[in-house]
């Protein structure tokens, strides 16, 4: 069967099980947009290519399937670089297809030519410039395979226009074809048996262990395995910003989020631990603070699918390369065997008494809970109160997306995450503007779920136009803008570390008028200024299911995110609130 390259591309996507793609056409990708008309794949027309990329990410976050975005060459390709980098930092599987100028024009500075594979080399797991239409099916298969195996990540296929028009003989490659063409790609998934037993021995012997669960748990679909390990051993679990939802917040062993804005118990338990069991986490600087002062007394068991993460920041005592789920299951198994083979030992003599450790943790939890002060009068709406009210008035399996800034930290701190894949956020890159398109992508992936986004007023202005997409495509997401009239997170740093010299952070609460803007984009727009209006507004939004809803919550500009470990500082120097330490002003 003869097909054009463009037809072969769409057919290959169908063969890969793609149901939806996000994109926007243009000159070089024109040939590929024609067969889309006849394809069962749903195409969602975005208003800006960055939106397509973040939608694909949101889709991937909640479904575990690679998100697909397709855009044209040049400016469209550069517009999608930010989502690629975002996905690369957060290990999100994504396949991006870009148009390219004709092969014979490449290198001539042709109209809308840019070196897309060159530009995206540093922000993709791999990329391809296809020069022969016959290669398309194999490249597509490899793209999906690479995006979604090993450490997941974004890949990009750059397709010149003449290759899209070229006739080829259709043939779908086999697994063997893929393997033969990727001699250098063999991710290790099975953990080393000796290391696993060593890890089990260390875990069994630890007096003050903490499980340090990262986003890798979610990528490996290892939430169940994690829970089994924690419950078998009684070891408490911290969940990083990328791992919120990987372990239920209501679980007695859940300690919540560690790091720069983590709660006291999560941060301090890691500092005082004698063993950190790092599972799919990468010792990010936002978690460790000053590395030399991080968890100084802890031995490290580090499990990760990416060998380069082991020893990158902190040298592990037991490094295990492998898929988190299978390794955790094997560690659990090894622990059961340990207990069975040496019941006396394990039960009494050598098994450490973790009572004091758990008592210490409970004491910290009681003494230093997350807290904020309600406003002295009704003029100021507290952002944390909005998050809590949202938490109390949404179903347990609601999906929450967020932007980047103070509102993101409050959302992660004050919401509760009971299920995996309910928290969609930009961790590694910290991309303002992520929330709206990511929420849309998430809703497309899980239409059965309620999807809310908590966004900042600054972030919202970066990608709000995608609500036009959402209205047009009838994707009923709900956006809660925590409108503090500032680039709040930057304001917070200027307040604390630059003597309240506010430089270029004021945005105004009224400009733009978010309600009118929402309405102009086909959404329902609501405004909330007082605490008692919060719940009714949320309930009203929940009742609307035929279009997006935007709520402009006018929140207190002065509110800061606490606790806080100042950048570059030791986690021991955690500041709990405005009344304590240097931050007290």
């Amino acid at each position: 069967m003869k097909l054009t390259g463009a037809q072969a591309l769409i057919k290959s996507l169908e063969m890969e099980g793609v149901e939806v793609m996000f994109g926007l056409p243009g000159g070089c990708i024109l040939p590929v947009y024609d067969p889309i008309i006849d394809s069962p794949i749903r195409h969602i027309l975005v208003r800006h290519e960055q939106g397509a990329g973040h939608m694909a990410e949101g889709y991937a976050h909640v479904t575990g399937k690679p998100g697909v975005a397709m855009v044209t060459s040049g400016p469209a390709a550069t517009n999608i670089v930010t989502p690629l980098c975002d996905a690369y930092m957060d290990s999100v599987p994504m396949v991006v297809i870009t148009g390219q100028v004709n092969t014979f024009a490449i290198g001539s500075d042709a109209f809308q030519e840019c070196d897309t594979t060159g530009i995206t080399q540093a922000v993709t797991k791999h990329n391809w410039l296809v020069t022969d239409a016959a290669d398309i099916p194999l490249v597509v298969r490899e793209a999906f395979h690479i995006a979604n195996s090993g450490r997941p990540g974004p890949v990009l296929i750059d397709l010149p226009k003449d290759v899209a028009n070229q006739l080829m003989e259709w043939q779908w490659p086999t697994d063997a074809d893929v393997d033969a063409d990727l001699p250098g790609y063999k991710p290790t998934t099975k953990g080393n048996g000796r290391m696993i037993r060593e890890a089990a021995r260390m875990i069994a012997a630890a007096e003050r262990p903490v499980i340090y669960a990262g986003g890798g748990i979610l990528k490996a679909r290892a939430a169940e395995a994690l829970r089994e390990l924690a419950e078998l051993t009684g070891i408490p679990v911290v969940t990083t910003l990328m791992a919120r939802g990987a372990f239920p917040d209501s679980h007695p062993l859940a300690l919540g989020m560690p790091g720069m804005h983590g709660n006291y118990t999560a941060v301090t338990s890691m500092q005082k631990a004698d063993l950190l069991i790092a599972l799919g986490s990468r010792f990010d600087d936002r978690v460790t603070g000053k590395v030399d002062a991080f968890a100084p007394g802890a031995k490290i068991v580090h499990v990760d699918i990416d060998p380069a993460e082991l020893g990158k920041v902190r040298r592990p005592d037991v490094p295990i390369v492998g898929d988190c789920r299978s390794v955790i299951e094997e560690i659990t198994q090894a622990l059961r065997q340990l207990a069975a083979t040496a019941p006396e030992d394990a039960g009494s003599a050598s098994a450490p008494d973790r009572g004091p450790w758990m008592a210490q943790i409970r004491e910290w939890q009681t003494r230093f809970p997350l807290h904020y002060e309600m406003a002295e009068d009704d003029r100021f709406l507290k952002p944390q109160f909005v998050i809590e009210t949202l938490r109390e008035n949404t179903p347990e399996d609601v999906i929450l997306a967020s932007g980047v800034g103070q509102h993101q930290m409050w959302a992660s701190q004050h919401f509760r995450f009971e299920h995996p894949y309910t928290w969609v956020n930009s961790g590694g890159l910290g991309t303002m503007g992520f929330a709206v398109p990511a929420a849309i992508g998430a809703k497309v992936g899980r239409p059965d779920r309620m999807v809310w986004a908590v966004d900042g007023d600054g972030c919202f202005q970066m990608t709000a136009q995608e609500l036009v997409t959402a209205s047009a495509e009838r994707i009923p997401v709900k956006i809660a803008i925590l409108n503090n009239a500032y680039l709040g997170m930057v304001r917070q740093w200027q307040e604390l570390f630059y003597e309240e010299r506010y430089s270029e952070v004021y945005l105004s609460p009224d400009l733009p008028d978010y309600v009118k803007w929402a309405e102009a984009m086909g959404c329902v727009g609501l405004r909330v200024e007082h605490a008692e209006e919060v719940q009714p507004a949320i309930e009203k939004a929940n009742s609307i299911d035929d279009r997006p809803v935007v709520i402009d919550f006018r929140t207190d500009s002065r509110e800061k995110v606490y606790p806080m470990v100042p950048a570059g500082g030791s986690n021991d120097d955690i500041i709990l609130g405005p009344s304590q330490g240097e931050g007290g002003r």
Partner: protein
Amino acid sequence: MSPTSPGRHTTARHHILSVLVENKAGVLARVSGLFSRRGYNIYSLAVAPTDDERFSRITIVVDVGGTTLEQITKQLFKLINVVKINELDPAQSTEMELALATVKADAGSRGEIIEMVNVFGGHVVDVSHDALTVSLADAPARVDDFEELMRAYGIVELQRTGRVALPKLDRQAPRLRSVTGKVG
């Protein structure tokens, strides 16, 4: 890469990475791009196809400590087109490098230069009235010495290739090895 720093081929920290890559467009850019974006310095780099046309071998010399070397190797291996990486211990490998030098050579010094080239086992590859172009392919330290001696005559232009390397052959007799194998 400072061409004037002396003894630059003999630092204690130098490591040789022999990287087998797929022979595809853009692979060298991926490798060199990775070095620059992760902040590693390449000391020298040589690349050529292998006997198997599907693959090329890139020989990279880096001057880093052990932890960084481990990161470099692991990050390199994440590149899809990288098939295999061998770290060659300088003490356990044969390294070779080629230098081409155009040296000032008037009637008075020409004979001496040619003699020197012969002593090193090099070649005179081009001749003019007032200059010679000479070549030497040898161990990098010998090439260093050669370069230094040529400098005395006045180097007009110098080009070195960067080194290539292979592991040293095992000199233990096979029988002996099997015996120690049993004992161990």
